[in-house]
Amino acid sequence: MTDELRRCILVVEDEPLLAMDVEMVLANAGFRVVGPAGTCARALDLVRDEPPDLTILDLNLGTELAFPVFDRLDEAGIPFIILSAHSREIVPARYRDRPFLQKPYRIPTLLRMIDKTLQDARVPSRCQAS
């Protein structure tokens, strides 16, 4: 990443081990991690309080599905990448063309997808100064 500004990425994942892992990967890649949030409520709070440049979120958050967060992110114009162990069909039709990565994934693949998504969005970082 050549950008001077560090992008911040919101991680929405309920499984602690996986959240820790993503955090480590992102931190190593130079991103600032917001969260992680393990529930919809927590995620929505973070979106409101600390809107990220990008969100990486799992479909399944314990017993609930993350669709409300999708909607909120969509409204807010925040790009997001969907991570899931499920297959793509489970994604609602309106989000099916969004970036999707099936677990388990390879770290380089995730990083590439993040770069591409950020580039496509062409949104200036809205991260608060860290």
Binding site: D14, E15, P16, L17, L18, A19, M20, D21, M24, V25, G38, N60, S84, A85, H86, S87, Q102, K103, P104, Y105, I107
Partner: protein, 1046 residues
Amino acid sequence: MASQDNYPVVGIGASAGGLEALEGLFRAMPADTGMTFALVTHLARGHVSSLVEILSRFTAMAVKTAADGVTLEPNELYVCPPDHIMTMVDGKLRLQLRADEAQRKPIDVFLSSLAEARGPASIGILLSGGGSDGTLGIKAIKERGGLTLAQGGDGSGPLQTGMPDTAIAAGVVDLVLPVEEMASRLADYARNFGKIEALLKDDHRNEQNVEEKRNGYQSIYRILHNQVGHDFSGYKENSFQRRVRHRMQVLQVASLSQYVARLREDPDEVTMLFRDLLIGVTNFFRDPNAFEILEKTIIPGIFEGKGASDTVRIWVPGCATGEEVYSIAILVREHLDTLRVTPKVQIFATDIDDHALVVARTGRYPEPLLEYVSKPRLQRFFTGDDVSYAINKNIRDMCIFSAHSVIKDPPFSRIDLISCRNLLIYFGTEFQARVIPVFHFALRPRGYLFLGTAENVNQFSDLFSPIDKKQRIFQRRDHVTSPMHLPAFTPATRDVPSGADMRRAPGAMASNLRHAVESRVLERFAPAHVVINREGDILHYSAHTGKYLEPAPGLPNRQLVAMARRGVRLDLRNALREATQSRRPVKRERIAVEIDDRVQQVDIIVEPLGDNPRDPLFLVIFQDVGPLVPADLPPHDDNIRNHSGQHFEQELRDTRERLQATVEEYESAVEELKSSNEELQSMNEELQSTNEELETSKEELQSVNEELQTVNSELNVKVDEVDRANSDLRNVFESTQIATIFLDHNMVIRSFTPAVTGIFNLISSDRGRPLTDIANHLADMGDLKRDIQSVLENGHPIDRRVHRRDGTEHYLMRILPYRGRNNIIDGILVTFVNVTKIVEAEVQQRTLVEELNHRVRNMLTVVGAIANQTLAKSGSPDRFAEAFLGRLHAMGKSYALVSQENWGGVSLSEILMSQLQNHAEEREGRVQIGGPPISFAPPEALALGLVFHELATNAVKYGALARSKGRVAVTWGIQKNRLIITWLERDGAKVGKPGRKGFGTELIERELKSALGAKVSFDYAPEGIEVQITIPPEAKYIASVGRDGK
């Protein structure tokens, strides 16, 4: 006629109601009588009969369908198939296909051919049935010496009596029995058949035997002559002996002398023998000589002088089965063809009751009975094939059949020819004496009487004169009044001196002279006179009655008063009335008789004559008074005594005139009444003719009715079977849960199982509507119509998965061909099998698989994350391996523990034990665990497993378990609704607070937070670490009261 084995063949005829009769007969019939049985029935055209099958149940004998050319075997029953005519030739059965065989009287045909083939070894049986088929066949069997039976009597009498009754009425049945008795009689008959024949055969070697036989027959002739008055000794010996043998067979009498004794004591048997002897007399043209005379002499005679407006009337009393009548009709027809001018012809054929007439009215005869009909006549007057013939309509229409008794009913009149050849012989002489005068009355003047060869009119030679004595042809004598009212003539009134008078022997000569003298005196001097009877008919004229009598115009009339001249009539009538009433002489004086234009005064005397009180006679004498004088002359002085009486006389004359006129009017009125009477008679005859036609229609209906009854009988048997099959089918339908719809080839619903109503809105009145009409709840049916068409054509089933529109039920729809008779596709079956459960299971399975995939991927991701994290913190590959594998191992143990509990609750102790197990074993007593029973669900149990693993690993690496003296104590309890777990390490290596949070610690914190919302605190005391986990009450765990108490 003889065959190798002379066993009897039994021909059976049956129709409506025959099934029951056959059952009764064959159930009782032994299966080893040695006879062959052949059955002919009336079956509906084209009808496939199960008769053979049904009959097999009643008898042990083999029951077979008769086939053309099959040889008859003993102890078997052959059944004639429908649409066929069966005959017997040379011991084999012949069958011919005939579409309307019932019309041809198949029973008559078969039985008469059987009679021809087997003669005395034939037996004919008529069972229940309507109509008259069989009578002629039975007659043929009887004629040829066979045994004949008809169903009747008590017990199981016939349901339909037409067939047996007609045969009985025709007098051709030997035995009338219920069917059960028939069987035992036939068995006896068969057993003794042949023995009696042998016994009676002439055995010339045995002189005594021959002598005995001759005496025996002589006795029989005598007995017959005594009872019936006929001498059979001139009869053909062979025929006579055959008849006697036959009666012996019927009665099962073994010796001739026994039979003679039987005849002596039983007059009924004598009558039966008598009838047997006479059978065969009335076949078509049977007496060739007699018929020749009829043809050449008599029939031309009765037609002579008849014009187109005249009618020739012929009467055949006792016509029975009608052969004689039709024979005469044929001769008449042939004669008519030779005439230029043809009068009308009426042939009246009568018999005692309607049963006897049924056969005659039908006019259909089997071939053997037409033996004596010449080929040209057969061709011209009959229609038929080689088995049976029917008389043609033009002949039939000449004949009128009606029931009539010659003794009781008034006779016909103005008959030209009476042919009575089969009747008188059955009457005794007394009846004959009554019947012959009836015939005399019935005949026209010079009419003919034709009698049978066994009959004669010797006593009545005064009524009939013989034309041909040998052939029994007589002509009516006309000069006698009909003697119906005068059974006995007194000799004194005879015209012609009777031979009896002449034969009065001594003194004949003297009386002749006296007679001559008296005649002369009478003639010359006696006044004119007549003798009349009580009715006023003149029986005798004297000479010279012309002055007083003249024939009345019109038909000849013997009435005296009708013939009296004018002037006399009135007084004569009065005088007669007075005399007949008072039986005393009456005189009327000075009556004026007008003779042309002159007048003669006459005294009229009427006197009773003779002394027969039952039939009084009267003598009427006309005595002239004075001469004949001209009419216009003034009355003689003697007549007028004084002038004052003149006008009285005038008045009297006027009165007489008027009276005369009245009398004449009255007489003409009587004439008119007579002619009305004639008209009424002829109307009556027309009505009789109409009646004939109705009888024929009735018979046709009866025959149809019979067919229907037979069919009905068989159908009843079938109906039971069908009922049972239907029942089975209905039960199968209702028990099946598979919805099935039956369609015909037009996609119209024929029927459906109850289970269908759940899928389609079908109700029972939807049968008959096309399937596609009806609303259904199913989707994905595809093009049902095309699918059905395809199955109809090629018979390959088509499957489709369909489901309810609301998605709740799924079905497997199969479209199958419905194969009917001969395996031809003529409909469609559509079945629906509910596969919802299967579909649901599939969905569930997909879900499970998906779930499994998801979990596995998740698991792999977690493992990947552990690897990643461990790698990041491990200095060397060895360290990495140890840590990584340790963590994986711990996870494995956790999972093992959870699945051990079948993914139910796992207790806290167990979780701890599983992670600390190794260490506890290696270092005894160094690990202690205690606390109330608490269980966690799998997700929480797994998280705790990880946590305790980290704590244990750290204890091993850095803490209490690193030194041999170190201890770990884990205790927990609930305080203020919070579950507190305390992990205490002591006496281990010295630990200090780490500078940076290790991965393990981070993991512990996050796991506890994420899974249980719990907090954790680390206290790094110098003695050892103390970790406290605080789990809030809202976390998911179960605190159960278990074995540990609390």
